[in-house]
């Protein structure tokens, strides 16, 4: 198998790492998307505004990448509404209970060499791998 480096993916990762670093170094905040979203569900918190701005920026960043860079996005998730709702609920409950997701544990947590985040990332990757195996090769 010839190994070709997927440059846009590498660059995308570098941009996300830089954004996470910027938010922590200047603002002292962790760029964990589920954590930032979770904080938005209780609007009386004093740090509501920065969370809203970060999420607005992300939505805008996605939009900009389509119109400036022509980045492809899928038109749909090619799954039933039941699967989409179930996946969304599990991702939300799981990230909430486990205090983080792919960005918070996977980038910022591992980036701080936090053992808790390294364990968390290994667990969700393994469980997601098993789920995909069952979905694609057993059902």
């Amino acid at each position: 198998m010839a190994l070709t480096i997927p440059w846009p993916s590498l660059l995308g990762g570098i941009l996300m790492g830089s954004a996470g670093l910027l938010l922590l170094l200047l603002n002292g905040k962790i760029a964990g998307i589920s954590g930032i979203l979770g904080g938005l569900t209780s609007p009386n918190r004093k740090d509501f505004l920065w969370r809203l701005l970060f999420i607005t920026g992300m939505i805008g960043g996605g939009w900009l990448s389509i119109y400036l860079l022509g980045t492809p996005f899928p038109e749909n998730y090619n799954a039933s509404a039941l699967i989409i709702i179930t996946a969304g609920l599990l991702v939300g409950v799981g990230a909430g209970v486990g205090n983080g997701c792919t960005s918070g544990h996977g980038i910022c947590g591992i980036g701080r060499l936090s053992v808790r985040s390294i364990v968390a990332t290994c667990v969700f990757m393994a469980v997601a791998g098993i789920t995909v195996f069952i979905r694609l090769h057993m059902l």
Binding site: I14, T56, G60, G61, G62, F73, Y77, G94, G100, S114
Partner: protein, 139 residues
Amino acid sequence: MFYVIALLAGVLFGIGMALSGMVNPELVTAFLDISGQWDPTLIFVMGGALAVFIPGYQFLIKKRAQPILTNDWSLSKNNSIDVQLIVGTSLFGIGWGLLGVCPGPAVTSMLSGNSDVWLFIVAMMAGLIISHQLKTKVL
């Protein structure tokens, strides 16, 4: 300035997320499907992010008493690997494996015209609210 940085970090994170290809669940599923046609692209995404974040944290952040624009670090002091972490990240893994979508890519896709992303977002936000109730009342 604090709020400008929050918005800017969000924009950078969103562009990175779009460029990386993680907004496409097929890429995520192909990475998680190690017994099929394994696609290692996600390693480059995470590798790129960590290649910036790990040295940035070690050399710029760790030695600082406080962030540049605020007084305190909002970092988790929780180092325990407990049942809550394992159960939460496992549920997250099932949801992630089921559809190939996690919080960051979903937020980035909100204005992309993806007809399924809003359903996922609503379910995920409901999940985050449920997790908050679980944590305060049950766990």
